[in-house]
């Protein structure tokens, strides 16, 4: 339950700058959706938040400055990033993957309880504890990645394109679970998503990115209501 | 790009036509006086420049100790004896990593860039083979090469190249001679290194036992890249031979000695070749395990207390301490280097002309030349038709903590006749 304050965040790869000074605030326990076309810098934003990409400016989580820290240091401060794609440890078993999520937790107590909790969210994982992550289907791997992120007991959860490549039914289920997690654990969530409809369905507020700048901000309802915006930026009809 | 290629070809043709080659190679210095017209590159009244090629890097680096012994000798001679005949010796050492192409490069560097008077030692048969056409075409003495291949002495096309140490075939003859006397019906098992050295020695041995009651009942080879010769030793033990001929280089020599000692069911007479007969090879195996091992030698072992009062040995130890501080004079490579450098000194001093031709003639007409570090009775002799400076060796047996020489010095030329290709 921490507030995320992003101020003038600039980031990129080598000489190529991708983010040109982003500022926004996510209130504790809220879900914030980041929308926008391909190449807008959504993934880079998440990477900058988790330290995978060096950024300038300021990212503060619950008052702690995160910019300039390494990804593992940021993870130790309670930021869990579920990257695009699978992002699991394929040769390791499902259980090992989940336990790795709790790697930075010093006390072992509660880890087993948390595992049980993950299984209630994702019952499909429980039956595959001893299988390697590589043998799971795409949807199961995504669940595993999110489950692993939750094992960190994150203060901030970053989700990158959770729906990518998943069947619509599974995607809806996944978003329902994200919502449930957010409600039960009061975790602050930033979700990047192509499928704006789904994202806006669970988010309290949203920002639209285009070529590295925020071009529109507002509550989920406002964004959804703005039909013109929806057409030009989000590429779908309400 | 195609245009430039054509352009270049045209330019090439033009330039070739214009220059007609390299406008003649620049003539080196020549001598005057009675030796007029002979090559005097790299030599003046006050200086003498020599070049040597050794493996200082790579797997054969152990031999890199030899030039240190040579340098110590030359430093001593320069400082205390006013050089060789008033000429201070400069000894340039280059590294070939035991690679023939590298040896060719370094030989050319020494001759063309460093302008050395002579190549004093190239090490190893491959490196020497790769360079001797070059040195002989350019009429540069390649003296006392550090390899025991027989071809340095038998070949007639390369008068500028000569070996020094007893060749492997002569050494094999010595062991054959010994066995004929002591064990006329010996069944011999041989372990040999699968290269020119091993093949030469084994071949020489086989030829030397022809017509005698001695038979080779087992042969096993190893590669220098093998980790261990244990498997070979096991197979040889199965041959039930009563003599074991150990034709190896130092590390494998130790391994073979240890394997023989460990195998209590097989106790052949163990003959180890000169290359591996150094105390530094025997000591790691444990002296108690190498009693009675037979070998042969031609120079004095600094570890052997027999030579404690020997003048040359005392000089060697003192001067090594002085000019190569930190180097252990007991290392046989240093001794070898010292001895061969002394041999060079004697050969150079005997030259009638201080020229390359003079050195060639001198090294091909050595007559009973004494070298202090060689065993008493071992002298250097060459002549027309005899390209082997040292052909005598003496057998020795390991007792206690040292080698004991036994029998007389054997002159293989006398015993077996000259070696021919």
């Amino acid at each position: 339950m921490s507030e995320l304050v992003v101020t003038d965040l600039v980031a990129g790869y080598g000489d190529a700058r991708v983010l040109h000074g982003l500022s926004f605030i996510v209130a504790p326990g809220e879900i914030c959706a980041i929308l926008g076309p391909n190449g807008a810098g959504k993934t880079t934003l998440l990477r900058a938040l988790s330290g995978m990409v060096r950024g300038r400016g300021s990212v503060r989580l619950g008052g702690t400055e995160l910019t300039g820290r390494s990804p593992d240091a940021i993870a130790r401060r309670g930021v869990a990033h579920v990257p695009e794609g699978r992002g699991t440890f394929m040769p390791l078993t499902v259980e090992e993957n989940l336990r790795l999520g709790a790697y930075v937790r010093r006390r072992r107590t509660g880890v087993d309880a948390d595992l049980d909790r993950i299984y209630t969210y994702f019952p499909a994982l429980k039956s595959r504890l001893r299988q390697t992550a590589g043998s799971l289907s795409g949807g199961e791997q995504r669940m595993l990645a999110i489950g692993r992120a939750l094992m960190l007991r994150p203060r901030l959860l970053l989700l990158d394109e959770p729906s990518l490549g998943l069947a619509p039914l599974i995607t809806r289920e996944l978003f329902r679970i994200v919502r449930a997690i957010n409600e039960q654990e009061r975790t602050t969530v930033v979700v990047v998503e192509q499928n704006a409809h789904l994202a806006l369905g669970i988010a309290q507020q949203a920002h639209v990115l285009e070529t590295g700048r925020i071009v529109l901000s507002g509550t989920a309802e406002q964004i959804r209501a703005d039909e013109q915006v929806a057409q030009s930026y989000l590429g779908y009809r309400v | 790009m195609r245009v430039s290629v054509i352009g270049c070809t045209a330019m090439l043709l033009v330039s070739v036509a214009a220059c007609g080659g390299r406008g003649g190679t620049e003539p080196g210095a020549t001598a005057s006086g009675p030796c007029q017209g002979q090559q005097a590159t790299g030599i003046t009244d006050k200086s003498l420049k020599l070049g040597g090629i050794y493996p200082l890097s790579g797997p054969a680096s152990a031999y890199g100790d030899i030039p240190k012994g040579i340098k110590a000798y030359f430093d001593y001679v320069n400082a205390e004896k006013n050089g060789i005949g008033g000429r201070k010796v400069e000894f340039v050492v280059r590294d070939d990593g035991y690679q023939p192409p590298k040896a060719v490069e370094e030989a050319r560097r020494l001759v063309e860039q460093e302008q050395v008077f002579a190549l004093f030692q190239t090490l190893g048969t491959p490196s020497t083979t790769a360079t001797w056409d070059y040195t002989n075409q350019h009429k540069v003495p390649q003296i006392f090469v550090a390899t025991g291949a027989s071809k340095w002495g038998t070949d007639t096309q390369h008068p500028w190249t000569i070996g020094w140490q007893p060749n492997y075939i002569s050494e094999a003859r010595i062991y054959a001679q010994y066995l004929k006397k002591d064990k006329p019906n010996a069944k011999v098992a041989v372990l040999y290194q699968n290269d020119d050295f091993g093949k030469d020695l084994l071949g020489g041995f086989k030829r030397a036992i022809e017509g005698s009651g001695i038979t080779v009942v087992g042969e096993q080879s190893y590669e220098v890249t093998d980790p261990s010769v244990d498997p070979q030793m096991r197979n040889l033990a199965g041959s039930k031979a009563d003599v074991f001929l150990n034709v190896t280089t130092p590390k494998f020599g130790s391994q073979a000695l240890a394997a023989d000692a460990k195998n209590t069911g097989w106790n052949p007479l163990h003959i180890i070749n000169n290359v591996s007969s150094s105390i530094t090879v025997l000591k790691p195996v444990g002296f108690e395990n190498v009693q009675g091992v037979v070998s042969s030698s031609y120079y004095k072992d600094p570890r052997d207390p027999t030579w404690n009062d020997d003048a040359e040995m005392k000089l060697y130890k003192a001067k090594m301490q002085q000019y190569a501080p930190g180097a252990d004079p007991n290392v046989p490579f240093f001794t070898y280097g010292w001895a061969v450098a002394d041999a060079f000194n004697k050969t150079m001093s005997a030259a009638k002309c201080p020229t390359r031709e003079g050195l060639r003639d001198s090294m091909r007409s050595l007559s009973n030349v004494q070298v202090g570090m060689l065993l008493p009775g071992v002298t250097m002799n060459t002549a027309a038709g005899d390209g082997f400076p040292i052909e005598s060796m003496q057998l020795m047996k390991f007792k206690g903590e040292r080698w004991e020489l036994f029998g007389d010095v054997i002159d293989t030329r006398k015993e077996f006749g000259p070696l021919t290709g």
């Binding site: 440890f89 | 890097s57 790691p284």
Partner: protein, 293 residues
């Protein structure tokens, strides 16, 4: 029959030597995905350290412990100082850095300790155990035992400790490992340290049999590569089994197949490898990656 069994036993002894170094190779490979050409030379250098300690008068076992500790620290230091700067470079660049390290360490050892062979104390008693006409040297038994124990310890470390789990995570996906909070850099250094320690054990086991010189591990390394390839480069168990198979195969071929003889026996494990790889490209024990797209 006894003769044949004897050859098998000797083959196992040789194989155990290859396996011990293969373990170190596999360790590094698991972490970094590179083949460390310098592994054998590092092991050789550690062995010289042990020799130096015993030559200074320390009792063998104390010298061994100090050597292992120093090797561990040295391995970590090498990762931090030499490998770290090229961490993001293409893998072949890192491999070539290890080739440079190989040349450097070999020459440095020769420089410091000379190329003359040294006599290294054997931790195991002389003699052999004889049963049914087959005798097994205590050295062979000792090496087999130590290799087995090292393999077991590695297994426990990897499968049953949190740090081992973290190491496997780094090996499989360094990016995701960072995201769960693992200090990847230090874990890699830890991997190098461990490999150097295992290598030191290997060197100390091998030196009394092969005699210590700077080229101690040159020949062994090639067989260790063969062992690791055969067993699968990502499996410690595979490395050991691969090593034993290679040892037995070359020994038997050298002893019994007349045409092959001792000069061509090295070809036998190589042919086995080729055949195994063509049938099972991941090696005998290597994990096939099951990826569902």
């Amino acid at each position: 029959m006894a003769g044949f069994l004897q050859q098998v036993v000797e083959g196992l002894g040789a194989g155990a030597i290859y396996a011990s170094l293969a373990l170190a190779l596999v360790l590094i490979y698991q972490f970094t995905g590179i083949v460390n050409f310098a592994q054998g030379e590092l092991a050789m250098f550690s062995t010289y350290l042990a020799w130096q300690f015993t030559a200074a008068g320390l009792p063998f076992w104390l010298a061994l412990v100090i050597t292992l500790v120093v090797s561990f620290a040295g391995g970590m230091l090498i990762e931090r100082v030499i490998i770290r700067p090229v961490e993001g470079a293409p893998e072949l660049t890192v491999v070539i850095v290890t080739v440079g390290l190989f040349i450097f360490v070999n020459a440095a050892a020769g420089w410091i300790w000379s190329f003359l062979i040294k006599d290294f104390p054997n931790p195991f008693p002389e003699g052999a155990l004889t049963a049914g006409g087959v005798s097994v040297g205590y050295s062979t038994l000792g090496i087999l035992g130590v290799v087995g124990v090292v393999m077991g310890l590695l297994y426990l470390l990897f499968q049953h400790t949190k740090i081992g789990l973290g190491m496997r995570a780094v090996a499989s996906n360094p990016g995701s490992a960072r995201l769960v909070g693992i200090r990847v850099g230090w874990t890699l250094a830890l991997g190098w340290g461990l490999a150097a320690t295992v290598g030191a054990v290997s060197g100390v086991l091998v030196a009394p049999l092969l005699f210590l010189d700077p080229n101690l591990m040159g020949g062994v390394l090639i067989y260790a590569f063969a062992a690791a390839t055969l067993g699968g480069f990502d499996s410690p168990v595979g490395a050991v089994v691969g090593g034993l198979i290679v040892g037995v195969a070359e020994t038997l071929a050298g002893a019994y197949v007349g045409f092959i003889g001792s000069d061509l026996k090295i070809g036998v494990p190589l042919v086995i490898i080729l055949v195994v790889l063509l049938l099972r490209p991941r090696g005998l024990f290597g994990r096939a990656v099951v990826e569902r797209v």
